[in-house]
Symmetry: C2
DNA sequence: CGGAATCCTTTCCGATACTG
DNA sequence: CAGTATCGGAAAGGATTCCG
């Protein structure tokens, strides 16, 4: 059984990816990059919240995703869940100190993002404009008013 | 046409998500969280690289993903592509100043990740152990030797 | 109320083949 | 060498329903 060069490459590809799984930096990155994590952290930053409160404050998340996000945060020790056995049941979620530390990282990320996005958006406009010129169609570039996302302060230190 | 409470919630869900798209912090997060971005940035941190060099140094990425990662970085003005029209063609990729700045953010993330991962892993072990106790099966928890990922220094300042 | 289970669509991505 | 094009499987995630 002799392998083609392409197949050999795929062997190394698999091995490399397997090793990547164990990199702590990557694991953290995957945690905070799952869409709802930051929003949940931010809401919990202001105090314990019930499940239904979170749903109201983060209406973008479906019930399924909210629950699974919370489960994952709980597993990582970033959030604790308090159960009050009454009828109907009441659950409260609260940040742990570790969770608060992660919040600090997120704020840092936010600072840099807002400082850099103007440059990135400029680059995108130029890039897309160039592409439009090459194809003859001269597509209209959608311009997003800065007020739109500026007012959407879903991450505040 | 009267809507159920559930349907009203879904209206807000869509609107909220549409607004989220324009948040610069989220856009940055999505950029750096796409799996190969950090690895490419790190490789380019040491100097310009050809396409084939990147493939060798980052064997985990398929050719397709490597190209699409590079295209996206190029569009955002984080990387520039130099084409040398010879036979065969030669392309070099190089970080822009903006790209180097992003690299700084990534390093910061890495520092925090390595500092915090021990606590997170401990929390996971406890959490999973508890779950195993509840179900009678007492599943064996896979223990990953720290040396494994410790040696995998794919992010170095 | 807080969730788990199911179904079903959409998106991502690897594999493969082809081009200048 | 450095891509592009296309296909199919796997996985993420939304909608809906049911349960304690």
């Amino acid at each position: 059984m002799n392998l083609t060069a392409e197949q050999k490459h795929q062997r190394r590809q698999a091995a490399y990816n397997a090793a990547l799984e164990h990199c702590p930096a990557r694991q953290l990155l995957e945690t905070i990059s799952s869409k709802w994590v930051t929003l949940v952290l931010l809401e919990l930053a202001e105090g314990p919240r019930r499940h239904s409160e979170l749903r109201r404050r983060i209406p973008g998340a479906s019930q399924k995703m909210l629950t699974s996000t919370l489960r994952s945060l709980e597993r990582d020790g970033l959030v604790v869940r308090h159960l009050t056995a009454s009828v109907p049941v009441r659950t409260d979620y609260e940040l742990t100190p570790l969770g608060r530390a992660l919040l600090g990282v997120v704020y840092g990320l936010k600072e840099w993002a807002e400082a850099s996005m103007p440059a990135v958006e400029l680059a995108r406009l130029e890039h897309d404009q160039l592409a439009a010129d090459v194809s003859g169609t001269s597509a209209t570039v959608a311009t997003i008013p800065a007020t739109k996302w500026n007012n959407f302060s879903h991450i505040e230190p």
